[in-house]
C-alpha cells in the first residue's frame, strides 16, 4: 500500500460543507474536497493533540503526544520518524511543502529523513528574498492592520528593520508574484500531482504533503480574493494578517469591516487550496493509483476568525474552533469507504495508521492505529483525547463533552528535551538554560534529557465544560452547573494523564489529584 498524507494547515472544519454542524456566512466552494469525501471515510470526531504547528507534526511523524513534556521543537534522537522507518523498509519517501517552520529556528529533524523533499519558498516569514528593500506599500499596510485600524494605531512594518519575523519579509517574498500559479498552494499541489504521475517506477511509496495554506497571511490572488467579498481586496485599509488575540482590544482589535474581510479572504484561500488539491486528485485518477494508495487529508488545527471574540491562535480557551479538526481517509480496501465515522480519534493516531498501512512494524508510542476502524473491525476507538499547548491548560474530550482545565500560572512548567529550545520564544536563536538538570525523566525512552522550568501561560481561570453534541459552537459553559459531567470529565483527564505517565509536576500545576 502507498500512502499520500496531505495536511492543509489551519483548515477550520466549520468552513467546509462536509462538516455542516456550524453555519458560516459563505457557501465556501470546495468541490474537490467534496468529491474526495465521497470516496473517503469522513471522521466526525477527530481532535488535535499537541499544538500548534510543529508539535502537531511531531505527533503525526513520530507518534509523540508531546505537549505534556515540551513545546515546539525538533525531532528528538529517540524518535522514530515515519520517513526513516519507511525508507528502511524499502519504501521511497517524498516530502512536498511550503511550510518554512521546518527550516526555521527551533525545529529540525522533520524533513531530513525523506529520500527527497521539495520546498516551495517564501511563505509567511520564510527568510527568502532580501530584495526589493522597499516592497509594495499597499501590501505592507495590509500585512499589519491597515490605515483603517481602530484608533489608527497600526503602522506598516519597517522594511529597514533587520530583526527576525519582520512582516516586510512576506511582502518582499511575493513582490514579483503576478499569476495564481506563483502562489504557494498552487506550487505545492502542482508539484505533488507531478510527483504522483512520475512515481510509478517505484514499488511502494510514502508522500507527505504539508501545505502551509490556508495559514495566514490571508493574501490570495484573484478570483479568490473577490469571491466572498465586495471590498477591493487591495485596499490598504483592509488587513489580511491580523495579530492574534481579542478582536475588541489591543493590537489584535478589528473593526467589523476588517473582520468580515479577513473571513472572506480565509474562505477564498480555502477555495484556492481546494482547486489545486483537485490537481492531485486528477493525477490519482489518471494513474489509477487510487487502487493501491491510502490518501489521508487533515489539518493541524483551525483558526479563530471572530469566534468567541478571538482571532488567530491566541492565548484563548481551547475551543473546538482550534482543536476539532477535519479528517478524511481514502483506503481502497476499507469497509468504511464513503461512510461517516463518529468514533473519537486523535491526531497522534495517524502515525500508527500510516505505519500499519505501509506494512512497517514499529512501536507506536502514543498512537493508536485507525486501521481497525477503517476496515470495519470495530466501531469504537478511544475513550479520551487530550490536547493543548505545552505549559498551559490541559484539555480532554470523550467525543460528547469537552472539558478545559486551567493551570496555575504561578507554578512554572517543566520542559523536557535533549535540546534547549526556547520554551516561550520559539522562533528566536536559542539560549542556554543554565539551571537545567539532566536525567532519565521521560517514560517512553531511557535517553537522558534536560529538564528546566519556565513561565506557565494561563488561558482561563476556571474549568470550562461543553456538551459538543448538543452545542457544537460551545456557547453554553456547563461548568459549575452540571457537576456530575464536570467531575466525570475531570476524572477522565486524570485517567488520560496517568495512561500517558505524565510528569508529577503536571498534577501540581493543574491542581489535580
Amino acid at each position: 500500500m502507498n500512502v499520500l498524507f496531505v495536511s492543509i494547515d489551519s483548515l477550520s472544519r466549520h468552513f467546509l460543507d462536509v462538516y455542516p454542524e456550524i453555519d458560516v456566512e459563505f457557501d465556501v466552494e470546495t468541490d474537490n474536497l467534496d468529491r474526495f469525501a465521497e470516496r473517503a471515510a469522513v471522521f466526525d470526531t477527530h481532535y488535535a493533540g499537541s499544538l500548534p504547528c510543529m508539535p502537531a507534526r511531531r505527533e503525526w511523524l513520530t507518534g509523540t503526544q508531546e505537549f505534556l513534556w515540551r513545546p515546539w521543537g525538533p525531532v528528538e534522537p529517540f524518535d522514530e520518524t515515519l520517513p526513516r522507518l519507511a525508507r528502511e523498509d524499502g519504501i521511497v519517501t517524498q516530502f512536498v511543502t511550503d511550510h518554512y517552520h521546518y527550516f526555521q529556528h527551533g525545529s529540525h529533524g522533520y524533513y531530513e529523513d525523506f529520500n527527497g523533499f521539495e520546498f516551495v519558498r517564501g511563505h509567511e516569514f520564510d527568510a527568502w528574498q532580501t530584495t526589493p528593500r522597499y516592497p509594495d506599500e499597499a501590501l505592507l499596510a495590509q500585512v499589519t492592520m491597515g490605515e483603517d485600524a481602530p484608533d489608527a494605531h497600526q503602522s506598516a512594518p519597517d522594511p529597514d528593520n533587520l530583526g527576525f519575523m519582520n512582516r516586510a519579509q512576506y511582502a518582499r517574498n511575493v513582490d514579483d508574484f503576478e499569476d495564481e500559479s506563483d502562489f504557494f498552494a498552487p506550487k505545492v499541489f502542482d508539484a505533488t500531482a507531478e510527483w504522483v504521475r512520475d512515481v510509478g517506477e517505484w514499488d511502494q511509496w510514502f508522500c507527505y504533503v504539508d501545505s502551509f495554506d490556508v495559514h495566514e497571511p490571508f493574501h490570495v490572488p484573484e478570483p479568490y480574493a473577490s469571491m466572498y467579498t465586495d471590498e477591493d481586496p487591495r485596499d490598504p485599509d483592509l488587513v489580511n494578517w491580523p495579530y492574534y488575540g481579542r478582536v475588541d482590544r489591543g493590537q489584535s482589535e478589528l473593526t467589523d469591516r476588517q473582520l468580515d474581510f479577513v473571513r472572506a479572504q480565509f474562505a477564498g484561500k480555502i477555495t484556492m487550496v481546494d482547486r489545486w488539491f483537485g490537481r492531485v486528485l486528477d493525477a490519482l485518477d489518471e494513474t489509477g493509483a487510487w487502487d493501491e494508495t491510502m490518501v489521508v487529508v487533515t489539518a493541524d488545527h483551525g483558526h479563530f476568525l471572530g469566534e468567541h471574540g478571538w482571532v488567530g491562535k491566541p492565548q484563548a480557551p481551547m475551543y473546538d474552533v482550534l482543536t476539532h479538526t477535519p479528517l478524511f481517509v481514502h483506503h481502497p480496501d476499507a469497509a468504511r469507504a464513503g461512510e461517516r465515522i463518529d468514533a473519537l480519534t486523535s491526531a497522534v493516531d495517524l502515525y500508527g495508521t500510516i505505519l500499519d498501512e505501509l506494512g512497517v512494524e514499529a512501536d507506536h508510542r502514543h498512537s493508536r492505529s485507525l486501521s481497525p476502524l477503517l476496515h470495519g473491525e470495530r466501531d469504537e476507538h478511544r475513550d479520551w483525547a487530550i490536547y493543548g499547548y505545552w505549559g498551559s491548560s490541559v484539555n480532554v474530550t470523550d467525543g460528547e463533552y469537552t472539558y478545559l482545565h486551567p493551570c496555575d500560572e504561578s507554578v512554572d512548567a517543566e520542559c523536557y528535551s535533549t535540546e534547549m529550545m526556547n520554551a516561550l520564544g520559539w522562533f528566536q536563536p536559542r539560549e542556554p538554560e543554565y539551571d537545567a538538570e539532566a536525567g532519565e525523566f521521560l517514560p517512553y525512552t531511557e535517553s537522558p534529557v534536560w529538564k528546566w522550568e519556565t513561565y506557565a501561560t494561563g488561558r482561563h481561570d476556571d474549568p470550562m465544560l461543553f456538551d459538543v453534541t448538543d452545542d457544537p459552537e460551545q456557547a453554553d459553559d456547563l461548568a459549575g452547573a452540571d457537576t456530575e459531567q464536570e467531575d466525570r470529565m475531570r476524572s477522565l483527564l486524570v485517567d488520560a494523564m496517568e495512561h500517558l505517565d505524565a510528569p508529577p509536576s503536571q498534577y501540581e500545576r493543574l491542581g489535580l489529584p
Binding site: M165, Y244, Q315, W426, D461
Partner: protein, 84 residues
Amino acid sequence: MADTIEYCLRNVDGETRERLAGGAGTDADATSDADTGAEIVEQRCLQRCGDCYRAAFLVVDGRLETADSHASLLSTHLAEASDR
C-alpha cells in the same frame, strides 16, 4: 493615557512581570492596573519576535514601544496617568 498595555512573557524578567502582573491576567481575563489606568494583558507571544529578541518592549494600544528597560517604558505611562 493608555487603554491597553500588552507584554510578552518571553520579554520580561521576574520583577517586571510581578510589577505588571499586579494588573494583569491572561489574555482571556485581563484586568485593570490602578497605576497606569490601563488594561494589562500578558501573553506568551505577541508575534513581535524580532523586537522581543533585541529590546524591552510593550505594545500600547496596539503600537510597539521599545526601550532599554520596561521601567523606562512604564514610567511614561505612569506619568501620563498621574497627570490626569
